[in-house]
Amino acid sequence: MSEPAKITPEIVREHGLSEAEYARIKELMGREPTFVELGIFSVMWSEHCSYKSTRVHLRRLPTKAPWVIQGPGENAGVIDIGDGDAAIFKMESHNHPSFIEPYQGAATGVGGIMRDVFTMGARPIAMMNALRFGEPEHPKTRHLVEGVVRGIGGYGNCMGVPTVGGEVNFHRSYNGNILVNAMCVGLAKTNKIFKSAAKGAGNPVVYIGSKTGRDGIHGATMASAEFNEDAEEKRPTVQVGDPFTEKLLLEACLELMATDAIIAIQDMGAAGLTSSSAEMADKGGSGIELNLDHVPQREENMTAYEMMLSESQERMLAVLKPGREAEAERIFRKWELDFAVIGRTTDTGRLVVKHKGKVVADMPVHALSEEAPRYERPFTRRTPARGNPPYDKSRPVMDSLVKLVGSPDLCSRRWVWEQYDHTVMADTVQKPGGDAAVVRVHGTNKGLAITTDVTPRYCRADPYEGAKQAVAEAWRNITAVGARPLAVTDNLNYGNPEKPEIMGEIASGVDGIAEACRALDFPVIGGNCSLYNETNGEAILPTPAIGGVGLLKDVHRMAKIAFRREGDAIMLIGEPKGHLGQSLYLREIEGREEGAAPAVDLAAEKKNGDFVRKLIEDGHVDTVHDISDGGLLVALAEMAMAGNIGADVGVAGLPDAIPFFFGEEQGRYLIACPPAEADRIEQQAREANIIHAIIGKTIAAKVLRVEREGEIALSALKAAHEGWFPDYIAKPHAN
């Protein structure tokens, strides 16, 4: 790349900076920036790095609890899970790269989030992935699904970290803009957590991992720019992931972390060397001086601009205690990784970059961080959709059930998770397919329950209530296995924030998350914003994905969704209200996306959940499933299919079967237990004022029987449920 002699308005625009922003840069610098400096500003001031549109809103999220060790602000959040153990986790998007090159985009997304977690000293123990694709019939969708899933598996499997769950949705709003959100959960000791503050002057700054190439230069800016049809024509350099090197990097970093040589460490993610060095200096209140001549380079004649902006993967930056370089180098050489001292910390508060004997950048660190733009963008809150839409009462319930369990958003995701190694590390005590995955804390009886949730169609109908629902569902899924929900990481995927209605979705989404997290004592300890998810001016459904983590005290007292015994009583916990608005029933059976999103009564949510959790903890119940997408009958069918045990249900005097069985009102669970337990539980429920009802029992026949509606063989249900995904993929297709 040749460097322009003069910075023209054209060049400024290409860097995604507005005129006003450029004027501010000149003011902060007291002069025209150099080309390298402009590049550095452009990535540091991008939406992706600076959160310029969302920062003022994110402040409203509750981030504290006695068990929170580290909230938002570091590479990942940290919670205390007792006995000196800490869980470290974070979720992040790789949406745009995955649309352009699904395999590598998704793979490097996985690699990036793992680095965020192990850079803090944690060994990753579980991965999740929340995926949204366009409508199945769209010519690109199948290819994207295959590529993304292969990419996630290709990277995660090699790393030896089990991928234990996630979400897959299809909706036309993602036709030109898929979402790939990956979450990583790791384990560390509370007294061995590493941070990124480069404190002190004169300490060596070391570069570790892979060599730097011209990968994904300006990736961070790309992630913040709206897509056009011709985005593919621009052919941005997509990064290629190298999971083998990442695995070595992981082991080498953990080995170095076992010493006390590290002052600060930070992965090189988006905007690579630039953001890692600037952020470390900023947090440490120090300065950093880099000499790019020492940066390990994969390609010849790389310019300073390219090196500072490269997004080559599998790299880390660390600040060591002086004199510990040789010890660190020995470890990295053993793992056959590059290691180089490329600079030192200073007390000047400046980021100084030298290349070939010349100073190519010299800028105040605070100009890149605190001085980065922060916008209070205008927003308008949309009036939520209202009403509980009418429906055709004559449709046969059992036929609708088969259709629903075989529909794209409700069918089994086995085709997906069987491509992910979910058993490696031999601690996955609850595999994909349940409400939350559970991974045992190695060598203990504790478990971490992990889930990701959001129902974007609710968020479209009502950005506020939908966001509340996402948190509530994550909390409920963790509760349903018997764990105590502890904290969340969010991934806010929205459209262009410069449009007031989109900014309104974001503001309402944050409010909804904040309210639910506060009410459920479920603080946000990290997150990620992905904005500008639009194609040709059409935004995606608002998609604030919530990744939740909870603690299971004893993995031997854990509930699963599968029916375990014949003759168990089946009990509904929570109030049936028959809410069909925005339900999958309405969409898949009636072909309409209408009505109000289900309201979330956070008090009832908490009360019901606490009640169910106690039953599991006390060993009264081992079979639980929350009721979400598809409603009660779908949940029941899932329990029957998972256990291959039939059920017979019926409710006396039911006026409207369809809304009862398919309504998606919140805060509800199905539990199954021996009849003697059921009596006791009913007693307790009455005392605690929990709305509940015994609706049937499990039976020997391998059928699902519904009074007055008929019955269906489990094999027929399973054929529909398990069939959709493989059939869809097997259809002949073009790119």
Partner: protein, 80 residues
């Protein structure tokens, strides 16, 4: 007619496989080995006599399926 298609990573795109192979060859004592790049070769039997037509349709196959032109490039060889 037979077509042989080479699909390789574009220059500058990281090739982790090639890197690892090069490293392994050095480790096996092949000191003279420099950079190594790995790609795919796809041999296609074509029911087509006309060379120009064959080339055009193989090119089309590359663009549509065989190569991901965002990171890969391709070469086509025709024989017989």
């Amino acid at each position: 007619m037979k077509a042989r298609v080479f699909v390789t990573l574009k220059n500058g795109v990281l090739d982790p496989q090639g890197k690892a192979i090069g490293h392994a060859l050095n480790g096996l004592g092949f000191g003279q080995v420099g950079e190594v790049r790995q790609g795919k070769v796809i041999d296609i039997e074509l029911n087509e006599r006309d060379e120009a037509k064959a080339r055009a349709s193989v090119k089309d196959m590359c663009e549509k399926l065989l190569a991901n032109t965002i990171i890969e490039k391709y070469e086509i060889e025709l024989k017989g």
